[in-house]
Symmetry: D3
Subunit: 248 residues, 6 copies
Amino acid sequence: MRILVVNPNTTASMTEKAGAAARAVAAPGTEIIAANPAMGPASIEGYYDEALAVPGLLEVIAAHGRAAPGIDGVVIACFDDVGLDAARCLSAVPVVGICEAAMKTATLLGGRFSVVTTMPRSIPALEHLAERYGVAGRCRVRAAGVPVLALEDPTSGAVERVRDTIRQAIAEDGAESVVLGCAGMADLARALTAEMGVPVVDGVTAAVKLVEGLAVLGLRTGKTGGYAFPLPKPYAGDMARFAPAPQP
Amino acid sequence: MRILVVNPNTTASMTEKAGAAARAVAAPGTEIIAANPAMGPASIEGYYDEALAVPGLLEVIAAHGRAAPGIDGVVIACFDDVGLDAARCLSAVPVVGICEAAMKTATLLGGRFSVVTTMPRSIPALEHLAERYGVAGRCRVRAAGVPVLALEDPTSGAVERVRDTIRQAIAEDGAESVVLGCAGMADLARALTAEMGVPVVDGVTAAVKLVEGLAVLGLRTGKTGGYAFPLPKPYAGDMARFAPAPQP
Amino acid sequence: MRILVVNPNTTASMTEKAGAAARAVAAPGTEIIAANPAMGPASIEGYYDEALAVPGLLEVIAAHGRAAPGIDGVVIACFDDVGLDAARCLSAVPVVGICEAAMKTATLLGGRFSVVTTMPRSIPALEHLAERYGVAGRCRVRAAGVPVLALEDPTSGAVERVRDTIRQAIAEDGAESVVLGCAGMADLARALTAEMGVPVVDGVTAAVKLVEGLAVLGLRTGKTGGYAFPLPKPYAGDMARFAPAPQP
Amino acid sequence: MRILVVNPNTTASMTEKAGAAARAVAAPGTEIIAANPAMGPASIEGYYDEALAVPGLLEVIAAHGRAAPGIDGVVIACFDDVGLDAARCLSAVPVVGICEAAMKTATLLGGRFSVVTTMPRSIPALEHLAERYGVAGRCRVRAAGVPVLALEDPTSGAVERVRDTIRQAIAEDGAESVVLGCAGMADLARALTAEMGVPVVDGVTAAVKLVEGLAVLGLRTGKTGGYAFPLPKPYAGDMARFAPAPQP
Amino acid sequence: MRILVVNPNTTASMTEKAGAAARAVAAPGTEIIAANPAMGPASIEGYYDEALAVPGLLEVIAAHGRAAPGIDGVVIACFDDVGLDAARCLSAVPVVGICEAAMKTATLLGGRFSVVTTMPRSIPALEHLAERYGVAGRCRVRAAGVPVLALEDPTSGAVERVRDTIRQAIAEDGAESVVLGCAGMADLARALTAEMGVPVVDGVTAAVKLVEGLAVLGLRTGKTGGYAFPLPKPYAGDMARFAPAPQP
Amino acid sequence: MRILVVNPNTTASMTEKAGAAARAVAAPGTEIIAANPAMGPASIEGYYDEALAVPGLLEVIAAHGRAAPGIDGVVIACFDDVGLDAARCLSAVPVVGICEAAMKTATLLGGRFSVVTTMPRSIPALEHLAERYGVAGRCRVRAAGVPVLALEDPTSGAVERVRDTIRQAIAEDGAESVVLGCAGMADLARALTAEMGVPVVDGVTAAVKLVEGLAVLGLRTGKTGGYAFPLPKPYAGDMARFAPAPQP
């Protein structure tokens, strides 16, 4: 089995971290292909970065999907679930975002949970995802107040602030589990689970297991509704290369 | 006052239709600038088209926002409210999508309402918007089964199918008003209101009046939360020209 | 265009303030008719006052609606949206309440918002309206602890308490905008927007722009459902003069 | 114990029917006082009638509440729960509306239930009450298409239409119980329960038992929030007699 | 009338307390039969205790239901509403849980209310019931931090902690009434109502009045849907005695 | 890895079918232990059967959990998610129900989905689970009208009725995927996916992959809230053997 883990920003160290986290949990027979776009923002902090990351993300998926021997599933490794709907239309194989993976995994472990993300500006987007995924009533989103790229710098103190925010969530929110709200925290989950006394869920690893599961079950995105393949039509200008081809 | 009406697809006849509809309702002192991107899909039917339309849309907004004497508000003239969140981050002036405009306007006119859109594949996206805008409990979405561009062709029979679908909605959904679910129907609302005996709402014109209102009231998008200006950071490759500049 | 702004209590200074606020934002061609009932409570603080204000409110609307040359729309200038449903039945033209106007306007400006009203006893009624208007999940209601009529007295310190409560809402609620929860605060919005760094929405002015917009769009209340004209029938006693006449 | 059953319209035959239904279920020691206002509409069909019925309703409650030896609770015998919030503010004793009584009773008997009311125009108001009472997800509202006063006329065929609509609800809605959506149907519930094979709930009798229960339990409306007694203040014109007196 | 009040745990002192509370509010002609199972947990604190209490509970109901002259209704006197759905299937007469009774009674008395229960581990189960009963938006659940059986020991200080938690709820939650979240608090409601200045609702007594009401109204659980009588089928092993008999 | 798949009814052929389905998707290193209780109902059709199945289910889990070398996770193979909360309290390892597994898996594959279960009496219970799992707005439950044990009899025509009901769901519900609502259908999913043109999800296999994933991720049920281990306390009578032991 081959799973494509796409980091939709262009920071290679985050791609490597996500790939390593994915490989650490992948089944013996699973190959993890970690990739990031050649174009787009260096990190995704807010809706504008999100929107401009999507074409690059779709390009990565199209490139791997068309190449032999193909892939069996896709993980979108950004906690905003950037481009998830478009990727599901584009791809024939299952696609899972790490926010939905982490939130749905948390619902298997307890009642209320809290998400600890990076910057306060991301809170509204994640609250909206929580609502969309049907968990808004049991989920609180908190920000540690650290920029995404500070997680790549061990001297930044970012991890300690994440740790403090998790402690607050446990103490004040009635959280029975905690979700790490950024792909850049993927390496922290196991140690924090041991340290904090509650399950701490990382989305990258959770998504890898969900995609593996779907592939084994032979389940792919339904193509009769909102996730139907794109209709063939002209795309103008710089976007011409994205124009959907007729489905065979 | 100057309002930018962006049709996020690249079909000029739809841009003209939206511009004409906007001008027909604009206040005497309001200048309507109707524009569409130079790049992207010819029509927007589903999430993939949506995603690839957004960079072009943002480019249009940035171009007009930076030029003197600037604009006072933006209407996004695609019923999927394509790129609305990103546009709100980018822009200093209010931005309104035509789906939210039409749905919120319908709530001022009665209880239940129905949306009549083009293709069935758009129903899930519009149902999701209805949920996001807090109207899911009073809104049903129906598709007339016509491609977007068929609305540009008077010989296609598309308008008659829209009319039939509206009649079904009134008869079966308890709809006290009807929302036209595509910018390409902007020219039909007034006649259908007279014909159908219920208010028929078009999003382009509804959005123009909302944006005008916000501008007169001196209200702009809040910038302290999820719609804060993008943080300055490097953007790679073809997207480099979108890299956010530091706010002054 | 002629818009009737009805203050449903009998305090003329509030009527004047609402009228002035309305005129300040009305389009050049719009005439604002500010009026209040001859009967009913001097201020509306709670459900009992609300209920007894409604007949007077309806009387004002009927008087203006029947007189030539008629009106093009109605604003109900009390933040409890007193009598809104009944007024929509009575009137052939659009009717907008200032709570719904302000709340729906706030949803165009950001995610979460807070309402700052006068007395704690009003909180449940406004929370209920927030639920009805589909914004309960993103709205918190706070009371400044000032009686309605204290807003008419510059020496009461009421405005300073409103200001403090707004600051709390911004600091603690994640509010990206603020709604002023009483028609008596209509004169404060513009200055507070500048001072607070977030958009501050007043319902009277927001409602005027919504009604103007509906009138331009040719949209009136749907009459095929819950807002159908009242059926002709006998009304007894003091209410006999309210008996609905047969629709022509 | 003395319970005031107020029919908020002025049709004496409906008052008598409600009183008789109430007496048929009241506990041995309970006296039922059935009354209707001297002023207001002859029947309540829509929001306009509702609004104009309230002052008369409040007058009836005030009259009985002030007279020795007082009353122990109030039932508002109109299925729109007309004036319920205002009555709760006015009164020191518990007040229950027949819609809330019937809906909450139905939730004790099964999962989904359907309401069968009189005219289609009442559906939106009842759907709104269902939402307010937290039962919207399990409740469907249907109209039999009979005017309220036709229920008073045995030759009108109205009861047969109610019966047919109940049968439809059972067959199509998954209704495990049925609620009669008009006080004028109060005499039908017991026979229909036997005939239809599902529990059929009438609001007047349900409300009488709830009020009796609250009185025995020593529970009265909470007065620290939205249902606090009205504040003393001037009321102008014809409404002057309703001006709240200071609480002792 | 005969009402069976089942305490589903095996602590006889709690059964006696529930029985006494029930008798104090029962109508003159009502006989209260208080009983508890011969098997199962001594107290119910969490889902595991709940599950193992149910067979004993059902055994008690079956024993009394089959004996002449039968019972007219059942109260399940544990605040988790243990076994409520199963009991409704088993029994021909109405069955009410004390949590649903208390929560639905509280909605007749004001807007927001708070539940004060025993141990924090019970909060998720009660929040889930609040959601199921349609009151989650107006209800907050707090724990006093006292074990259930401490309520049976006057020297434990448990009642004082309940009192403190009620005070917090009134001060911080906007609670207009308070619900006691354990059958072991049934004796406290009346005194706390007087002391706290808000209505304090006990579920045992509330449920008795609801069941009495249903019985007088001739309303029983609907048997055409989820609460149909169990289908006859073999039950193996120790559970064989529970095998449903064919309905006559 | 060892996963315990418990069929909570006592029909061995269903246990074998669930075990075979589980083994067909388990990872190479995973041992599936399929078991059913020695006591309880032969099939689970409604709340009464559910309740009486739980003690046997818990006994199976306790037996395997205490035996060396222990288990790494538990699947409850009944679509009502019988005893899920209690099992989570009892067990140190993750526990997943097949309804929640299937519903959450379906949300990864499309928007709306339909559940096809056996008997109409199960619909309310499954609708309630859909609400609890946050998917009620996108899920419709249908019954094929076949008894559970008919699925074990190839001559019963049951599978054909399931097939017809799936076709209806696709045609009428806007379902983009379908969930099989009974463990006894576990063998049908793969063939139906191929035949129906939409993904068809079986809960047993979905749950196995979820539990495997949780085990690999090192995630177990949170024990600080509602799923804390049972408190040690006396259990009386036949239930004495279930009395929780003190946690080590």
